[in-house]
Symmetry: C2
Subunit: 337 residues, 2 copies
Amino acid sequence: MHSFSKAVVVILATLSSADAFVSPTYQRNAFSSLASTATDFDLNAYIVEKNGPITKALQESIVSLEPQTAKICESMLYSLMAGGKRIRPVLCLAACEMFAGSDEKAMPSAVAVEMIHTMSLIHDDLPSMDNDDLRRGKPTNHVVYGEEVAILAGDALLSDSFKFVAENTKGVDPERVLDVVVRLGKSVGPKGLAGGQAMDLECEGKPVDEVSLDDLRWIHTHKTAALLQVSVAAGAIIGGATPEEVEACEKYALNIGLAFQVADDILDITQSSEELGKTAGKDLEADKATYPRLLGLDGAREEAQRLIAESKKALEPFGDRAIPLLALADYIINRKN
Amino acid sequence: MHSFSKAVVVILATLSSADAFVSPTYQRNAFSSLASTATDFDLNAYIVEKNGPITKALQESIVSLEPQTAKICESMLYSLMAGGKRIRPVLCLAACEMFAGSDEKAMPSAVAVEMIHTMSLIHDDLPSMDNDDLRRGKPTNHVVYGEEVAILAGDALLSDSFKFVAENTKGVDPERVLDVVVRLGKSVGPKGLAGGQAMDLECEGKPVDEVSLDDLRWIHTHKTAALLQVSVAAGAIIGGATPEEVEACEKYALNIGLAFQVADDILDITQSSEELGKTAGKDLEADKATYPRLLGLDGAREEAQRLIAESKKALEPFGDRAIPLLALADYIINRKN
């Protein structure tokens, strides 16, 4: 494998740079030494390492240069910098690294998916939606800045996400950047976050026994998995993946997205508000359809394991290069908040 | 001039297509016959002619293919198809036609700016913002669908606008499409609609004599003019304009944007709710800073005239080809609603 990779480097180095990005194999060798084997891979160290540049890029992504924009920019940054594990940007960078051997070119996409995620949290927390006062242990955006500024800060984060990718992605075929823009757009629209949240709110209004497992799966596919899918797909596309490779990454992300939500439902009933950093037990109180409710707690845990196994299977073609993404899949169902 | 244009066609036809778009002069001849002179130009017929394909493209831009997305798509279409004069798409198509002799390639951008405009209307009408129940003579989106669906429909329209441009613009250098995406993003963020609306709401909370003409101008530059600027700039960019030509178009649009708002302030105090299709006299009732209040009614009318003269001056280099845009500038201050 090692010497095969070297041979590929030699062969592909003779192609023009325009041709080379289509088949990114020639750079894979650089990364395989980092990943080595699953057993000695330290995911925590990996996440910490990625989070340094991610935090810096997020902080620098919004700058108010005049007094008139101070308040809206402050509100945008308040939620964008509220912490969290930055799972979506980490997935994006890891996917890029898997194909390109470096994550550098995917940073604008990583910032964009975190901006979109933050927008969805701000809008979902609003009084007319989930009416949440607490998020990541801090007062929610509308509690601090007022409902009107919170709505506008969400709008601004959403539009800035597209601007950020289109403006700052360098050294990548512009057709690939446009592909990322299209996928980001889909991940928010009727077949993404907004559609998933609308259906979720609609189901909340129904008696719990009228909500089926299919409804729940539809909601989570669009409300949670769609953004994880574009996070991984954007990284792969920027990293030079082929359409088939992007599809494999999307399958991985769909399944970790569904598993993520099953795990969230489990945490809601097994953890305290303090452990979660947000209000616990809300689903039960709201008499909401959840996986534990529909499948039982053990059934929900089995479903999460099944989904994680599915997600890992999708990455088999990438061998050891997939170790960070595989470790992230395990992390998603083993997390405590 | 006629034979000069023909010569340019012959010379430029020999260039590769990648080079040709940089200098769009070769296609101008096709359009100059349509524009002829200002005196016999029928703006109403022009707007009606453009509105046919615009309405069709808007209607087709949102299709719900499954029952789960029916409600959010219906809510998006309710506001998108609520009529209005489609000034922004018309400006976009007219700008493209001025450079390319045809408006066809700019239709996805025209749809995008109308989606963004519609999003801003839905969100601005919300109870926590302007709290409007009536828009274009119909109940506002949140009155019909509820506040939560209205917020999500706005989010979905905003993200769909970027997707629509990136996915459907054909036969144009992808770098130009990315440029349009960047400008669309800017037109909504802190230095666009969202920033303008946030500052507007902040000023509404102040005593009216603490709001200066500079504040008002800042608000309208970002809340109104920014989207008109990107409407014209996107058409120009897709139509093959040079950076200097795009800049001239933006200057035109900035000034019609400011004039548009001065005219709006004047209409608010001179027209009835019935004539406007929305609640009249709201500015006075809200004790809001407006141009007529700061400059007097005559002063405001003079300011509108001055701005329209400025906007027309910016189009001088384009001669007769600018006739539709010049007529649109006049229309903006002479309209009755």
